[in-house]
Symmetry: C2
Subunit: 513 residues, 2 copies
């Protein structure tokens, strides 16, 4: 990649490094877990769920709606197609996916230091996705704008704990629906150099995304390097619709990666039980990944699962409850058995503000996310209100938790320094360790340092204004935006992108669908 | 126990049941995990830490201070005693503990429905312990009083998610130090019928606790039934002091249970590294449990670990960081290998208020607590400010999380109803599950229902006053106290207890030490 990108940049490798250093953006690598994943079901239970998914694929089947080409493709691969209903012989989907889908792949970024590995022992954190509203302590809740969008791209770029720029970090509702994807993709390229996601709201918008990536990365490069990872949601239960199939096809044909994610509010789009949600999710995801692998064998796919519980009084989605955590752990195990990367989790909450509910619910999703070994984590920072809003303060608080997870998964340091036996022997009973050689030697890196937590005395905290965590986070995101400096972008690429966007925008009238 | 307790109560078993039902206190059992514990170290790493603990016990030894009887006892068992320094031959402590300490035991409650199992696959949640300050949204932060103490006993009694009444839920600073243990133990007996903890601040206060339990439960009964579980903290590094040894002896001699807990702020009372903290904690706990088993073989002991990280800038303790979680998981594994119940964790935070920091940090402690398989969880509800304060709202928020943990550890329901294959087949693609037979049949128990979380729409939430989680919790604890009704207590026992307390209080002048 260095060579290819070098052609499109000024100053070569050394020049770029100097530029990077001058910006002093702290970068931490994506997570590489030293710990085995936590499992909530053994082989027997997982086999039963796999068998149930096969039963659903065979007996009920999946509707592939409004896409005759998909039906032809699936039929020619051996599926039983009846109208738009597609039934799969037992094991068909699994064997097609296992034959060509990569177990792990690299998603490439503009900056090689920000390439991410999707799969295996790795976990990549990406910000919130899809919220029409934004919230901050100053302005309250309001519709998101392209300025908010750019702000969140900048914050994800500036945060060492997020490894990915995400996709629709918020909906820029001040830009027409049929044109906003152009501004969003441009923002990810222009204001960040971390990897990002493409548009999926219409097949032609996916194709626009691919076209812009060709301008930014080079057309040949794109053919062999996934630079986008885009979110293809099932229309659960048991339906893939034409918009999602069209977008998935556009990305697969360009060898770009997709996340095939059944989005399930248990009790509405699936049964209320964890094993039921898991079987249905697996069936839907298998069918979607099969479509992608048939479209272009080897195109990177990630199996997704988004499952929430619901309030059985109001029907509202609920988050941070134990049942979705059980689904998450189960699906992660199923993805490992299948041999594909897995997406789930995040910092999910139904809370409207960045309060204790928001934090408890987010932690009750993020901890299972990490312990289950999720590979790609959308919504890792910012999510509020069941996804209806992204919060500036919530973003800061969540990113801090992501940072803690990165330390946790490294596990226990069993080096001699880590064991510290000599240090304890040298110290002896009743003597504190504050100034000992071992403590001083490990001072800098001993403990995770939260930027948001207040660990001062009550008196000091009171003197500092008795601020709560959200209030402290408010000051942090403002400072980050103030200090933000854009990563370098070759002016020729920038010009080409802006020209493409101008032509595309001029080619069609504004539309709100 | 039924027979024995029946003699001391009115109305017998049926009468008691009727009384219980009339109070309509919801009771949920302590947790019984269907899930294997999460492990962060394999056998090799754990063996190294055990070996390091043996090295510390042999080469450095432990100071047993101000207790000549303890030194005699340890010497006669084979330890090398030099002044107050006690060195243990390799493996000595382990073999003494394994020879007589129970792997699991029952702590008995006034109400047999509230007996708890300590050890094995069980987890028991007890409230906050030891805070001099209390906080609520109305009154802010202030010193705790005996009224606050009673309030928290009542709240723990009324909460279905706490299985234990705890000990010094807050310090009742309006009662003289040398007399407050009498009022505290009385409050646990009078205002709750869940199991509780005894006083440890002086050996004679431990003996007073035992005496009051004899009055409440019967002297013969006490001899064979642990009704108290009391907190014996090491004076880390590598010291057990006379107060703690005296209290531990008083309880062990009465066959009452003790928690032997090194309380470690890593970097101050131990090295900063997880493996170092673990080796030292194991050494200290082994020495303490050895003392108890030599005092009375078979007296129930729980191995404890309380480890926090620290701010390397200010020296303040920090909570919810990844490093103490790694220690917690490691110590839980070591306790299982030793074969004794384990205490750790809780809902710990350095936050001054029940905000997002408090919730994130608490969750980052409670989740490892539960996944590690901790058997007895002190500080499960209410903790703020590194333990300096207990919060009324925090108590409610934490208890709700404990409730979620109880559901999570049951794992995935793999019954036919749980698998729900027929329900999915019957429904088919594109049809929602809201009114299906399977959903209706599982409606009541499908998902954990939080009492505190707001899952309503933004508009409804706004209409309800835009309350945050702490504000909602405020209304909940007030309602719980308003609706509280004391469990029945035989008036003869009550009179005997009050008489004992009056005599003890009259026997000594007030003292603040």
């Amino acid at each position: 990649m260095t060579e290819i990108m070098g052609n499109r940049r000024t100053g070569g490798r050394e020049g770029r490094r100097a530029v990077r250093l001058s910006h002093a953006v702290e970068r931490l690598p994506f997570l590489t877990r030293a710990l085995a994943p936590f499992e909530v079901l053994g082989d027997e239970g997982l086999s039963i769920i796999e068998d149930n998914a096969d039963t659903l694929l065979q007996e009920v089947g999946i509707d592939f709606r409004g896409d005759a080409e998909a039906l032809r493709l699936l039929a020619s691969a051996g599926a039983d197609v009846d109208g738009e209903r597609v039934r799969f012989p037992r094991g068909m989907c699994r064997s097609i996916v296992q034959a060509s889908a990569p177990r792990q792949f690299t998603q490439y970024a503009r900056n090689e230091a920000n390439h991410v590995e999707i799969g295996g022992p790795h976990t990549v954190f990406a910000p919130n996705y899809g919220s029409p509203f934004v919230r901050d302590l100053d302005g309250g809740r309001r519709y998101g704008t392209i300025e908010d969008f750019r702000n969140f791209v900048k914050l994800a770029y500036a945060s060492p704990h997020l490894h990915h720029s995400g996709g629709t970090v918020c909906e820029p509702v001040d830009v027409p629906v049929n044109k906003r994807h152009l501004d969003m993709v441009y923002s990810h390229i222009r204001y960040s150099d971390k990897p990002f996601m493409g548009s999926v709201t219409a097949p032609e918008r996916a194709r626009d995304t691919v076209e812009m990536c060709r301008l930014a990365f080079g057309a040949d490069y794109l053919e062999t390097h996934p630079v986008t990872l885009s979110l293809i949601n099932a229309n659960s239960p048991l339906v893939w619709d034409s918009v999602m199939l069209g977008a998935a096809r556009a990305y697969a044909e360009a060898n770009q990666a997709t996340l095939l994610t059944p989005f399930i509010l248990a009790g509405a789009m699936a049964p209320v039980t964890a094993a039921g949600v898991a079987a249905q999710t697996l069936a839907e995801a298998l069918a979607g990944m099969t479509f992608v692998q048939l479209t272009r064998p080897g195109a990177p796919v990630v199996m997704g699962s988004f499952a929430s519980s619901m309030s059985m009084q109001s029907g509202a989605p609920t988050f941070g409850t134990p049942e979705p955590a059980l689904v998450l752990y189960t699906m992660a195990s199923l993805a490992r058995r299948l041999g594909v990367p897995f997406r789930s989790g995040g910092s999910l909450t139904a809370s409207k503000v960045a309060d204790a509910q928001a934090a408890y619910e987010s932690a009750a999703t993020l901890q299972p996310t990490v312990l289950a070994g999720v590979n790609f984590v959308l919504h890792a920072a910012g999510w509020l209100e069941g996804g209806l809003a992204i919060g500036y303060e919530k973003f800061i608080l969540d990113a801090d938790q992501c940072g803690m997870m990165a330390v946790f998964v490294k596990g226990v340091d069993m080096s001699e320094n880590g064991q510290a036996v000599e240090a304890i022997i040298a110290n002896g009973p009743g003597q504190h360790f504050l100034g000992t050689a071992h403590t001083l030697a490990n001072f800098e890196t001993a403990f995770y340092r939260s930027e948001v937590a207040d660990n001062n005395s009550f008196e000091q905290w009171e003197e500092d204004g008795s601020l709560d965590a959200a209030q402290r986070a408010n000051a942090i995101w403002k400072r980050m935006l103030r200090e933000y400096e854009a990563p370098p972008l070759d002016p020729a690429i920038d010009e080409a992108l802006l020209d493409f966007i101008a032509r595309r925008k001029a080619s069609m009238p504004d539309s709100e669908i």
